[in-house]
Symmetry: C2
């Protein structure tokens, strides 16, 4: 477990930031203070749709300690997009610019009309309460169906339909109709919130004239830089974003949330440092949520279990502002297309504005919702035909050489069948299935379920995939690494250290990744999202590491009067390739010569910026065994196991951590979490962690994971995505197990006692 | 004056940090605060030599708010050197390691035996006073002569002679003896302090396990990193040094002063941030001073003004610890060797320990002292022979093609004769000289003086000369620059911007130098000293700029389907080389394509680390016209002019500022400044800015400067050193003018009223 011992990918070395984090020394955004820092607090809308007809800031301005109050009249008249996507030279691929820093037309509960800056946080909060606003209501829309009604009030000029798209392979309807068995369903997923431990927080100041520095808890420092430049109408290079340690993001910090406001405020206040930090309550209302999807699906399957075809029609509710908007509904369909690639597939999606809090990116990016529908339908069909749920998936699962039905891209590594086989064995699927047959009567019933997923490893070809790395050798032969890819708690820095160590030929303990990023100097990379980082950063790191290694060997050749071609670097020593046991020169001595020889050498470094144009799918599945207490309407998970094909596993210990984290979030989405939003008023009833039920440790079962290691040939180290995948198949597996236990197919998440009661009552169980 | 308009070196663009500094936004070390920062204060010796026989820290430890008290018993038993020189692989070239963090054997007034850390500064100061020490005195040595006495007490084990060295060309004594006229003298220079505006201050903390970060007001961040590693016995890469804006150094911050202590304290206190900041009084006692030199010289000259030969014997007083020690006495002789290269020259120097505060590097690094002796002797000899002081210098001054008499290195650019000619004309030397003849009687007398210098452009071949630069293109086509060379107020970042702009082909306003350095990521360079930076950083900047330009043109060729060879970059646009008036593509559009084209390109960057093995001399002279009030013993400067050959002048406006600053410091050293140290007790009597007289604006005359631009062929942009030179010839010129006015040759600096009174009294004028 010691970093000291590890030398390559594939080893379970300790996180490089483990000690900093457990000792509390790791510095997050709120650990940074600046002399004279001031604090901003928003004035937010208590209604979900309407206008601030009138606003009076006099009382607030007169409160001692208040520096300024700004309203919608004071902010730049520049619409901007907040979504964290790489910029596109193609304007049709750009995010929707529908935001201003403040608005008179409020579109959701908690929308911001004004902001107060004061010398301390408490005064800012008090002053925000002193701003009096006269509200004028508009009709409130909370569902896509209402949004699309012909007479619906327009939430944004141009209408409530954000975007619609379709993709299809051949004549899907014909395939479904011709199948032996046909099923259809309507699936509904809730609005949830990311609930990362560290709140949304950033602060900004100006040092040099017209240059703004921002420290932010973000997944996407380089994108923040651009969007702040766009939102304020200043050159992008005049913005500098610093990312310290980050306490979780899960997609919420893949939006440019409060950085433009912090930058605006400091620019208006002579450059003083201004912090904009959201409370937990504000995070619920005014950061981002997971999109609620309503999915109508149909599926045709033959008696032998062959999935002939399936089609999905998705209605996605993006709330008040676009944020990632339609990208998520669209991506959900793309990412799942690899799962059963020999079946016909059609996917249609429609994203609408409503007066809900804005939905944005969240772990899985549409895939959990889509997989919930597909894997529920498939399971119900298999049950109807009496086919084992594992068998039906084995028959249809992606295999090497298959082509993606939409894009035609070839699948080079496909471990899903092995995942199903391995899971079936580890989980004792057959034994448990037999046992369940005796537990489907009475009050306490038992069921097992399984569900699969596919997920890509970055955003290509929808987005530009670019990553940069710079390596610098120190005098003691250790190596500093700057990567544009962003550590936000997932362990990126640790696997990057392993990649560099493996390729240069040094121990992991001799590699130091500079975790705090600074867009002025950190190599460019859009950031942490789309489970892209380990895949996309790898070729840049590897190329830079190979360059550094070559420079090291060239310098060694000069010192040793050898040909560089006869030398190699292993375990931190230069050796003759055919006498690896006999160290000629330590890397430390070589480094000292390079730095301090009077004439030869120089500081050894290497830098690369690499674009990636491959995007292989990862696969996996969840197995679950659970008990349902019919009277209490309560689900208890007895055992749960995720099995993943993410190619070569870079660090088994960290991989396990990622999987467990995703499973926990998946259980939350399946059984507990839901933002309760009044359907008439659009008011959020539970914007806090007391009333919004996240699972805590006592709510979670033991989480189990296993891997099927494939070697992905398109990948720099044989690996594929793993960050988001673990959450994806959990809900469908649980829902399928509940159906097996109770015979009731519940197609609306989460499966809370309240929902089970309604469904069991309808089904006559209660 | 607008940076916006400048595109190259040679233009007077505004400093890139001008607005940040005049608005007060530029952040210096003390502007950084950290949550939970604690403060350290030293317990210092009230005696100049002795032992702390006993120490009791109980009362201090019990004061509420005190975290810890450390004494000499608690610090690492590792001697270290504080001097800011590049490390050498040759152990004979390394600095003397004679320091520990704290000492029981105190060697100067203010030496440190213990240190207190408390939650606030006041408590730390109070607690330091509560530490009771029983002092045991040793004999105090204040002069080199006493230090070298056979029975002298040893200040350091091994004796008081730090080092002695000699260099000579041919038989100097014979040349002197054979000359028409022979003169000898004894010259004495005072102990002075740098008095930079920003005090010595640094703070340190630990974030990751075993890694220490330090923010410091230093000239030499990369050297601080090494020395802290050495002083604490930890790998150098485990130390990270951050250099914000610096409020002056002048050589004092070319020593590693308090950073090792700050690092030690945080390492002992669980990583909490600890600040070690010296008061002005402590700066006088316990940072560094300029070495007092006692120089015995002789010189032989022919009647026609030909300088046949001269020899100098230097006794240098380095005080209690070596710091730069003998390097300074030695360098003084080296740097002056280019001045009159056709004359025989011998230079012997001896550096001794005494019980004075430690002397270290200061602007001119030994040259002002040596030039004071040489230019006084030459002037006196010329006067005795009735030769015009300008003529005698013109006859002997270095000319193109001359060889350095010590090293044999050829002089490729030598503007000294033109400087003398230009100065003679601008200064109306001949008119003034004639006028003075009528003012050498009575109470108010007038004289004019001149003195010359030579000075090298870095430390080669004594030191390793290395510099690194990294350039990164932004999306808007602007360029970020990281240089290892250190902006400490002298304007380095501005001329670096001009160099990059000129070579890449963009306006200066499109180049942004990252001024805050971080040794984890800033390219390696030892720092700001030896007037080296513009010379040594230039090849790294130019090479990186050429690489970036080539990458830009390659990418342009790909976009435009042209050959890169037919394209060029001018004014921020890509053009065909033979149609420069017709822009094909802006750099901004090119940058956007490089970042965001789905497949081609990437972030464009370039990095270089270059070693320099040339070191051309800069030249120049001071002309002064002054009045002496015999009764008041007061010198009033009527006019003063420096004329410099520093090769191509990179930024005339900044160059003028450098010259004026050096002239002001030179006047301070000549007429005002002196640390008054009791010859018996070694106690410093005036360690503060009330009793130590620095010249202020009312004390200074109008400062005038002029340049003779040569083109140095060994230099990346034709330039040579300018940072230190302006101070060098001032004192001799003033002393020579006073002699002309009064007939009294005063060979001890400074020429305060007290000293003039003594000398005039001796000469019978009073």
């Amino acid at each position: 477990m010691e970093a000291r011992e590890a030398t390559a990918t594939g080893e379970s070395c300790m996180r490089v930031d483990a000690i900093a984090k457990v000792t509390g020394r790791a510095r997050y955004t709120d650990d940074y203070v600046m002399a004279g820092m001031c604090y901003a607090k928003y004035v937010r809308s208590p209604i979900a749709h309407g206008y601030a007809a009138n606003i009076n800031c006099d009382q607030a301005k007169n409160l001692p300690g208040v520096l300024a109050v700004f309203t919608w009249e004071d902010v730049p008249d520049i619409p901007f997009a907040t979504a964290g996507h790489a910029w596109s030279l193609d304007d049709k691929k750009r995010d929707v610019a529908d935001r201003y820093l403040l608005t008179r037309h409020v579109r959701h509960h908690g929308d911001a009309v004004a902001i107060v800056v004061a010398r301390d946080e408490l005064t800012a909060e008090k002053a925000a309460l002193l701003v009096s606003v006269e509200w004028q209501s508009l009709p409130v829309i909370t569902t896509p169906e209402a949004a699309l009604a012909p007479d619906a009030v327009e939430i944004h000029a141009g209408g409530n339909l954000l975007k619609q798209s379709e993709m299809t392979t051949g004549n899907v309807q014909q395939e479904i109709d011709a199948a032996d068995y046909k099923i259809q369903g309507r699936y509904q997923t809730p609005v949830i919130q990311h609930c990362h431990m560290e709140s949304v927080t950033s602060f900004a100041w100006m040092e040099e004239d017209s240059r703004i520095s921002i420290v932010s808890s973000t997944q996407i420092p380089h994108i923040v830089r651009r969007v702040v430049g766009q939102a304020l109408g200043i050159p992008w290079s005049c913005v500098r974003v610093i990312k310290p340690y980050v306490g979780g993001g899960f997609g919420n910090k893949q939006d440019v949330l409060e950085e433009p406001m912090a930058a605006f405020l400091t620019s208006k206040l002579g450059g003083i440092p201004v912090k904009v930090s959201l409370s937990r309550e504000e995070c619920f209302l005014a950061s981002r949520t997971r999109h609620a999807f309503t999915i109508s699906g149909q599926l045709g399957i033959n008696r032998d279990g062959t999935l002939k075809g399936y089609s999905l029609d998705v209605l996605s509710n993006t709330g008040a502002y676009a944020s990632h908007g339609h990208s998520i509904a669209s991506a959900g369909g793309n990412k799942v297309a690899y799962l059963y690639p020999r079946s016909a597939y059609a996917y249609r999606s429609t994203t609408c504005y409503t007066n809900l809090p804005s939905a944005g990116a969240m772990r899985g990016y549409g895939a959990p919702q889509v997989v919930f529908a597909v894997e529920s339908m498939l399971d119900d069909a298999a049950a109807a035909l009496g086919i084992d749920p594992v068998d039906v998936r084995l028959r249809n699962a992606a295999r090497e050489g298959d082509l993606n039905p939409i894009t035609g891209k070839r699948i080079y590594s496909a471990g899903l069948p092995e995942c199903l086989e391995k899971g079936r064995e580890l989980f004792e699927w057959d034994t448990r299935r037999a046992e369940c047959q005796n537990h489907q009567q009475g009050n306490i019933r038992r069921g097992i379920g399984v569900a699969c997923f596919s997920y890509t490893s970055n955003t290509w070809p929808v987005g530009v995939e670019i990553s940069g790395a710079r390596l610098l050798m120190n005098q003691d032969g250790t190596i500093n690494v700057q990567s544009g890819a962003t550590e936000i708690g997932q362990g990126a820095d640790t696997v990057f250290s392993q990649m560099v160590a493996e390729t240069v030929g040094v121990p992991v303990s001799d590699v130091h990744v500079i975790s705090t990023q600074d867009t002025d100097i950190t190599p460019f990379d859009p950031g942490a999202f789309a489970s892209r980082q380990s895949y996309v950063a790898a070729p840049a790191l590897r190329k830079a590491a190979l360059q550094l290694r070559a420079k090291i060997l060239e310098h060694a050749a000069e010192i040793l009067h050898q040909s560089a071609m006869s030398l190699t670097l292993t375990g931190g020593n230069i050796v003759l390739s055919d006498r690896p046991e006999d160290p000629l020169l330590s890397l430390k001595d070589l480094a000292m010569d390079a730095f301090y020889h009077p004439e030869r050498g120089g500081q050894l470094s290497a830098e690369c910026s690499v674009k990636t144009t491959t995007n292989p799918p990862a696969f996996g599945c969840t197995f679950v065994d659970l008990t349902v207490d019919i009277a209490l309407c309560k689900v208890t998970i007895n055992r749960i196991l995720n099995v993943h094909d993410s190619g070569h596993i870079l660090n088994p210990l960290l991989a396990k951590g990622q999987v467990h984290g995703g499973m926990g979030m998946g259980i939350g989405w399946s059984l507990f979490e839901e933002m309760i939003i009044d359907a008439d008023s659009g008011i959020v009833r539970n914007p806090n962690l007391l009333d919004y039920k996240m699972p805590t440790m006592p709510d979670l079962p033991q989480l189990e994971s296993a891997f099927v290691e494939t070697q992905e040939p398109q990948s720099a180290y044989g690996h594929k995505s793993l960050g988001e995948p673990p959450i994806i198949p959990v809900a469908a597996a649980i829902r399928n197990a509940v159906r097996m236990a109770t015979g009731v197919a519940i197609d609306t998440l989460p499966l809370t006692p309240k929902r089970l009661f309604e469904e069991f009552h309808l089904a006559g169980l209660i």
